[in-house]
């Protein structure tokens, strides 16, 4: 595993330790929620065997236990020093790919997957990759076209489609 070390002039946004604590806390809350829901479903024995909530309930308890162990261990650790989880620059780069991806999902619903993927690829190549406009547009177009031919035409795998595909009668 590669863990980034703090570089000079690139401030850390969050420490390894705080992210770990928060994650374990979230999982613990999830485990509690699941345990409660399964308890509601039924964790007892019936004439036909264990009820539906039995198995997941006990797994939730194990999960909660492991989280509590992790949290306690983290709290008891003497050294307050911790490696950086992510630095500002790193986080910016992650967001550069995450935000377009996040926008891509609703776009597939309105524009159809193929048009949205054209927009994502061309836009990403041009704005983030700083590649030439015609290279970006052509790559996006060719990739979407190939995907369309492979999935829609050759293998009959149906993807969400939008106004443009309807124009061509698909």
């Amino acid at each position: 595993m590669t863990l980034p070390t703090e570089e000079q002039g690139d401030r850390s946004l969050a420490s390894q330790r705080s992210v770990e604590t928060i994650t374990l806390g979230v999982i613990l809350a999830f485990a509690a929620l699941m345990a409660w829901d399964n308890w509601r479903t039924g964790i007892r024995w019936e004439s036909t065997g264990p009820q539906a909530g039995y198995f997941p309930f006990y797994v939730s308890i194990i999960l909660a236990g492991a989280c509590i162990y992790g949290l306690v261990r983290e709290a008891l650790r003497m050294s307050k020093l911790s490696r950086s989880f992510v630095s500002r620059d790193e986080f910016k780069r992650v967001m550069q790919v995450f935000i377009p991806t996040l926008a891509f999902v609703p776009a597939t619903q309105w524009l159809g997957l193929y048009v949205a993927s054209f927009a994502l690829i061309s836009g990403f190549m041009y704005w983030i990759g700083k590649l030439k406009p015609w290279v970006s547009l052509l790559t996006g177009f060719l990739f979407s076209l190939i995907m369309f031919v492979v999935f829609e035409v050759a293998f009959d795998v149906i993807m969400p489609k939008g106004p443009l595909e309807r124009l061509f009668g698909y």
Binding site: M1, P4, Q16, V19, E20, T23, I27, F30, A31, D37, N38, T41, W45, T48, G49, P50, A52, Y54, F55, P56, V59, S60, I62, L63, C67, G70, R73, F85, V86, E90, F91, R93, V94, Q96, V97, F98, T101, V105, T108, Q109, L113, S117, L120, I121, F124, M125, I128, G129, K130, L131, F143, M147, V150, F151, F155, D156, V157, I158, M159, P160
Partner: protein, 502 residues
């Protein structure tokens, strides 16, 4: 030699133009997936799985397993030419492979890597051919308690033998088991953990989870690390190939040792990653000149590659014979089998003989065709890596979305995939392993069913897991493995004390 006859039957199923063409397509796609950073064996297979939904099961599994072979071969290309392991199990290959490329011996290193992958896989496939039918027919006698005991053993060995913090492995596994339980309960038909959400009725599909956990998270990580690809060009000539092959017999001990390690760690869920490191370290320890390792020794390429591929291939043995995958990718192939209504496990060998032997035969053939293909097309695939990452990243995102959507035609699954991508990113950075989650997600409902059926049979008496010598041995072994770190530490301590007394 019943196996040989059945294998012949398998080859007969395989030799049609259509299957052979699919094989080539699968291998090409697989090498692509293996070469591209941010894609690897498990999620490559998961993303491409939808392509096979409209095929008949035999063609589909042949293509999928060829994608898998291709990905295994492809990982070595990036390790050697670019010093970037395409897969975690190619990390050890970079130790000597990249120095060889720096010395201008890239072609030799690549030939060595491909050849040893071929040998490792071949040994494992031979093992599968002769062992799998036996294990399957033995397992036909298994009832629910025995099956649960085997699942229990699998889970325990992940916890006990994994290198990660134990509580993190348990967290990952328990999360997988809970996620597997969401939706309709298979025994009673009751809904659980859906919170009234209609989208959750279907449950969390594990392929969607895999695409997010491995594909999307890998893109985020690669972006963060700002990967700069600087590599060596390579072209493999026949002369180099002959030269390396002529020297092969000299390294038979290394090859054999690594094959054995690989097969062992593949069948027990130790995994290809552990196998590759162990293969490398043992080759170094037994070498007459251990210090020269790391400077570009061809043995340093042979050892990890053979072990990794022997392990990657033999992971399919428990998957086919018992329905328990030995690796992440095997888990996904298992998911694929279930999509076509084939239930992996001992009955598969009885009910779908043609399918099983077609698959095993395709392993032989795919391996040979794959070796020829990679040897001839290396320059082309190395060029793929020169494509800027800004073009590759969004293409992988789109491929992941297509893969996630196609599994159940659900928009919700694309959102789910994105969520798992974020989870994968965070987990990877704080050291929560993801393989246990994948395994638990795919085995969860089977393990639960086995547990509940045995409980019903025994009227809630846990002693059913020690009711006969077979199930008792497996369960006890599981518990020993679970507490192995404690037991191992105690043994070392006692030994130390004894030694001090003397």
């Amino acid at each position: 030699m019943e196996a040989l006859g059945l294998l012949f039957l398998g080859f007969k199923v395989l030799f049609t133009w259509k299957t052979l063409a699919l094989m080539m397509v699968g291998l090409t796609l697989g090498i692509f997936v293996g070469v591209l950073p941010g894609l690897g064996g498990p999620n490559g297979v998961a993303i491409l799985l939808p392509l096979t939904f409209t095929m008949d099961p035999t063609s589909a599994i042949v293509m999928l397993s060829c994608i898998y072979w291709g990905a295994l071969f492809g990982g070595a290309i990036t390790s050697i030419l670019f010093n970037i392991p395409g897969e975690a199990w190619s990390v050890a290959t970079t130790f000597d492979g990249y120095p060889m490329a720096q010395k201008g011996q890239a072609a030799e290193a690549l030939t060595a890597a491909f050849t040893s992958s071929f040998i490792g896989s071949l040994v494992a496939v031979i093992l599968i051919t002769f062992l799998a039918p036996g294990i399957a027919s033995f397992a036909l006698r298994f009832g629910p308690p025995e099956f649960f005991a085997v699942y229990f053993l699998t889970f325990c060995s992940f916890v006990g033998l994994g290198r990660e913090d134990k509580h993190k492995t348990i967290i990952s596994m328990a999360l997988g088991l809970i996620l597997a339980g969401i939706g309709m309960d298979t025994v009673s038909g009751q809904l659980r953990m859906t919170f009234g959400n209609a989208e959750l009725l279907r449950g969390v599909n594990f392929l969607v989870a895999v695409i997010g956990l491995f594909g999307i998270s890998e893109i985020l990580l690669t972006m963060e690390e700002q990967l700069a690809l600087k590599g060596h060009a390579a072209r493999i000539s026949m002369k180099v190939v002959w030269k390396v092959w002529k020297d092969l017999p000299k390294y038979w001990v290394t090859l054999l040792r690594s094959s054995v390690i690989g097969c062992w760690l593949g069948i027990t869920p130790g995994g290809a990653i552990a196998a590759s490191f162990m293969g490398y370290n043992l080759a170094k320890r037994f070498s007459r000149d251990p210090n020269s390792f790391g400077t570009g020794r061809i043995e340093g390429v042979f050892a990890p590659e053979t072990a990794a591929h022997a392990s990657g291939t033999s992971a399919l043995l428990p998957m086919l014979a018992l329905g328990i995958p030995g690796s992440g990718t095997a888990a996904i192939l298992l998911g694929g089998l279930m999509v076509w209504g084939l239930n992996p496990g001992p009955l598969l060998f009885v009910e779908h003989k043609e399918f099983v032997w077609g698959l095993i035969a395709s392993m032989y053939l795919g391996n040979v065709v794959g070796l020829v293909m990679v040897l001839t097309t290396v320059p082309f695939f190395a060029a793929v890596l020169r494509v800027p990452f800004a073009a590759i990243a969004p293409m992988i995102v789109v491929s992941c979305a297509i893969g996630a959507f196609a599994i159940q035609n659900a928009m919700f699954d694309i959102w789910l995939m994105l969520g798992f991508g974020v989870i994968g990113y965070v987990f990877k950075k704080i050291g929560i392993p993801m393989a246990p989650l994948t395994l638990a997600l795919v085995l969860g409902s089977r393990a639960e069913d086995a547990f509940r059926l045995s409980m019903i049979g025994a009227e809630g008496d846990l002693r059913v897991f020690w009711s006969n010598s077979l199930v008792g041995t497996i369960t006890t072994l599981g518990i020993i493995l679970l507490f192995w770190p404690l037991i191992g530490a105690t043994i070392t301590k006692t030994l130390k004390v004894l030694r001090l007394k003397h």
